[in-house]
C-alpha cells in the first residue's frame, strides 16, 4: 500500500479494493471417503495399465529375454527389432511383407468408408429432420430397428449383393458395407442433432433459397461442426478396428490391418514371437489413439453440445 502515489490514493478505487474484507475458504480435508475413492480409482487404473505396460515393454525386448519368463522386468537391451520386423517382414499367410501392407489397405479403406458413411447418413438425417418427408416417422422407426440387426445375419445377402454390383473383394466393397451398416445409428445421430436447429432458420432458408442442396451446403453443414467431430471419431475408430467386414469383403488384395494382425498372431508353427506380436498389436492400435489425442477435447464438446441450449 505504501507504494501508492497520492494521485492513486485520491482515486480511491484501488485502496477500497485492497481493504475489502477477505473471506478465506475452508480448505478441503482428506476424509475416509475420499481415500476410498482414490484407492478404487487407482485399482481401476492398474487394471488397465498393467496389461498395457506388459505389451509395451515386451515389444521392446529380445526373444532371448522373453524366454527367461520374467514378464514384468524391463528390457535388458531396448531394441526396435520387433517393431521393424512386425512392420516390414512379418508373415500374413504366405506373404511376408509385414503389417505395412495392411496399414495402407486400412488407410485406403478408411477414407472412402468415412466419406460414404458420413455423407449418406448426414444428408438422410438432414432431410428427415428439416424437410417434410412423407412417411418420415415410419422410415425413422425402420432405421431404428435396423440398428439392432446383427451384421452376421445379413452377411451372406450382402456378399451376393456386393458381388452383383462388382465391388466384392476390393476397397469399395468394404466402404459400401461400412456405409450401409453405419447408416442407422449415424442417421439417428444427425437427425436428432438437426432437429434442434430452430424451425425459423429453416423457414427463412426455404424462403430465401428453397434449394435442398444449397441450404445444406451453405447453412446446415457449417452448423454441424460439433456433431461431425463426434461422428468422425466414432467412425474412424469403428472402421479402423473392424475385422469382420474387412476379412469378408476385402478379398485377398485389400485386407485391412486387423486381418493382417490376426494372421500374424495366429501362426501355428514354430515358437510364438511375443515381441513381434506385441509390436504389431501396438502398431494397429496407435492410429485411432492419435486421433483421440488430437480431437479428444473437441469430441467432449461435441457430445455435450445441445445438451443445454445456449
Amino acid at each position: 500500500m505504501s507504494d501508492l502515489t497520492i494521485a492513486q490514493k485520491m482515486l480511491g478505487g484501488e485502496v477500497a479494493v485492497r481493504s475489502a474484507p477477505y473471506f478465506p475458504r475452508k480448505k478441503k480435508r482428506i476424509t475416509g471417503r475420499s481415500i476410498a475413492i482414490i484407492i478404487f480409482l487407482s485399482i481401476c487404473a492398474i487394471f488397465f495399465c498393467v496389461p498395457l505396460y506388459v505389451v509395451i515393454i515386451t515389444s521392446f525386448k529380445t526373444m532371448e529375454q522373453i524366454r527367461e519368463g520374467a514378464m514384468f522386468s524391463l528390457p535388458n537391451v531396448w531394441t526396435l527389432e520387433a517393431w521393424d520386423h512386425a512392420w516390414n517382414s512379418a508373415c500374413s499367410g504366405i506373404n511376408c511383407n509385414g503389417l505395412k501392407v495392411g496399414f495402407w489397405n486400412s488407410v485406403q479403406i478408411l477414407f472412402p468408408s468415412l466419406i460414404l458413411s458420413i455423407g449418406i447418413s448426414m444428408i438422410t438425417g438432414y432431410a428427415l429432420a428439416l424437410w417434410n418427408v412423407r412417411w418420415a416417422g415410419g422410415f425413422l422407426f425402420l432405421l431404428f430397428i435396423c440398428a439392432f440387426v446383427p451384421f452376421q445375419i445379413i452377411m451372406f445377402p450382402l456378399i451376393s449383393m456386393t458381388a452383383a454390383i462388382k465391388v466384392y473383394g476390393n476397397v469399395w466393397g468394404v466402404a459400401i458395407v461400412h456405409a450401409v451398416l453405419a447408416m442407422p445409428v449415424l442417421t439417428l445421430i444427425f437427425r436428432n442433432y438437426y432437429k434442434d436447429i430452430p424451425q425459423e432458420i429453416m423457414s427463412a432458408a426455404v424462403m430465401d433459397s428453397g434449394s435442398f442442396w444449397k441450404i445444406f451446403v451453405e447453412i446446415i453443414l457449417p452448423m454441424s461442426g460439433n456433431i461431425l467431430i463426434v461422428v468422425l471419431i466414432l467412425q474412424i475408430t469403428s472402421i479402423w478396428n473392424d475385422y469382420l467386414i474387412g476379412v469378408t469383403f476385402g478379398g485377398m488384395g485389400s485386407q485391412p490391418m486387423t486381418v493382417n494382425l490376426a494372421n500374424l498372431i495366429t501362426i501355428s508353427t514354430g515358437t510364438t514371437r511375443y515381441n513381434d506380436n506385441m509390436a504389431a498389436a501396438l502398431q494397429t492400435a496407435i492410429p485411432p489413439l492419435v486421433i483421440y489425442f488430437f480431437v479428444g477435447k473437441l469430441f467432449v464438446q461435441g457430445i455435450t453440445a445441445g445438451a443445454i441450449k445456449g
Binding site: 427463412a204 424462403m207 447453412i219
Partner: protein, 366 residues
C-alpha cells in the same frame, strides 16, 4: 405493389380446424395487422401466405397470381421472423446475400442492393460481424435488411418486436412505419400487441378462434367494434361491459342498470331495431367517463360509485370504481386520481353519444 387476398381458406391439422372458410383481401400498399390472442390462427394465416405450410382448402392470390401451390421462394415475398432467424455461421453480409440466393442476379446488382439496405438500416459497420456479436436491435435490423434486399412487393412480419425491450420496441415500431411510408410496399404483420396494431396498421384484422372478428381501419375497429370480442380486446384498460335492459317509453330509449340507474341512449344509432325489455350489453370506454356530476344535456348517465383504487401510468391515470359488484375502469387526469380516496363515493358521468351496445345473445353490435 400487389394486393393480397385469401379466398375461402380452410386449414385443419388432422381433424382440428384452425381456420374456417376465411376471406380477406387487402389493397396494394396496405399495412395489414393480424391481431389476436395466442392460438387465434394469425401466425397460421401468415405461414399459409408465406407458403411454409399448405392450405387444406381455398385459394391465395398475390396480385393476379394464384400462389396457392407456388414454392415459398417464388411467391415474391420476404419475411421477418420473431426470433430473427439469422444464419449463425454467416456474417451480416452473408446473411443479406443469402437472402438473394433464389434470384439469379448479377453480382454487381447483389452488391448494390446489399449496400442500399445496409445504408437504409444503418448496419454498414456491422457487415462483417456474425449474428452472435450483435445486440437484439441490430439483429432485428439485419433480419429486416435480409427481407429488404429481395426488393419484393409484399413483406411479412411475424411478431418482430416481441423480443425487444420496451424502448427499442417503440423506436423500431416507428422505423417499420417509416419504412412502409418510404417503400410503399404491402405489409402483413402479425402481433398480439394492440398498440403495435393501432399505431402501424392501415387495416387491422382482429382474429379469434380462427375467425376474423372484424376487419377495418384502426379507427373503425376502435370506434365501432363489431362484436363483444373486439370491444373487449382493443383498448387498455378494456372497455367496461355491463348487462342492462332496454327500455323504450315515450319515444325515449334508455338502458336500465340493475341498480336502477337509467342510461340515455336517445342519440345511439341502432343498426338493428331495439326491442323494449331486451337484455343487451352496454360497452363504456374508460376514457369517456368524467369524474363529477353533470347535466342531462352533456351526460348519458351519472353513477354514484365508491372508489376502489387509482393508479398512475405515467401521463395518464386509471381509477377503478365498484359498480354492481364489479370493477368499473375509468381514465382520469392524474390530478383527479390523486384526490380519490378508496371507499369515497363520488359521482361519475358518461359522455353522450359514446356508448356501445351489443346483443346479449349473439354478441354482435346493435
Amino acid at each position: 405493389m400487389p394486393k393480397v387476398s385469401f379466398e375461402h381458406i380452410t386449414k385443419t391439422y388432422g381433424n382440428v380446424p384452425v381456420l374456417k372458410d376465411l376471406n380477406l383481401a387487402i389493397d396494394d400498399g396496405d399495412f395489414l395487422v393480424l391481431l389476436g390472442p395466442s392460438g387465434c390462427g394469425k401466425t397460421t394465416l401468415l405461414n399459409l401466405l408465406a407458403g411454409l405450410i399448405d392450405v387444406t382448402d381455398g385459394r391465395i392470390m398475390i396480385g393476379d397470381r394464384d400462389v396457392t401451390d407456388v414454392d415459398p421462394k417464388d411467391r415474391g415475398l420476404a419475411m421477418v421472423f420473431q426470433s430473427y432467424a439469422l444464419y449463425p455461421t454467416k456474417t451480416v453480409y452473408g446473411n443479406l446475400k443469402f437472402g438473394l440466393s433464389a434470384s439469379k442476379l448479377p453480382k454487381d446488382e447483389v452488391e448494390r442492393r446489399i449496400a442500399w439496405a445496409a445504408k437504409l438500416l444503418q448496419i454498414e459497420p456491422l457487415l462483417n460481424r456474425k449474428p452472435a456479436h450483435l445486440s437484439g436491435g441490430q439483429r432485428q435490423r439485419v433480419a429486416i435488411g435480409r427481407a429488404l434486399v429481395k426488393n419484393v412487393g409484399v413483406f411479412l412480419f411475424d411478431e418482430p418486436l416481441s423480443n425487444l425491450d420496451a424502448k427499442l420496441r417503440t423506436e423500431t415500431r416507428l422505423e417499420i412505419k417509416k419504412l412502409h411510408d418510404t417503400l410503399k410496399t404491402t405489409i402483413v404483420y402479425v402481433t398480439h400487441d394492440q398498440i403495435e396494431a393501432m399505431t402501424m396498421a392501415t387495416k387491422i384484422a382482429v382474429m379469434n378462434g380462427g375467425v376474423i372478428q372484424q376487419f377495418g381501419t384502426p379507427d373503425e375497429i376502435y370506434e365501432r367494434p363489431a362484436n363483444l370480442f373486439v370491444a373487449g380486446f382493443i383498448g387498455s384498460p378494456a372497455m367496461n361491459l355491463r348487462k342492462v335492459k332496454l327500455s323504450i317509453a315515450n319515444g325515449k330509449t334508455e338502458a336500465v342498470f340493475g341498480s336502477g340507474v337509467r342510461f340515455d341512449l336517445s342519440d345511439y344509432r341502432f343498426a338493428t331495431a331495439p326491442q323494449d325489455g331486451a337484455e343487451v350489453i352496454l360497452g363504456l370506454r374508460p376514457e369517456h367517463f368524467l369524474v363529477g356530476a353533470g347535466t342531462a344535456a352533456d351526460s348519458a348517465a351519472t353513477f354514484e360509485v365508491p372508489v376502489q383504487y387509482a393508479e398512475r401510468t405515467g401521463p395518464d391515470a386509471s381509477a377503478y370504481f365498484v359498480l354492481e359488484n364489479d370493477l368499473l375502469a375509468l381514465r382520469v387526469e392524474p390530478a383527479v386520481a390523486a384526490g380519490l380516496k378508496p371507499g369515497q363515493v363520488v359521482p361519475v358521468r358518461y359522455l353522450k353519444g359514446k356508448a356501445h351496445l351489443f346483443d346479449a345473445q349473439t354478441g354482435q353490435r346493435m
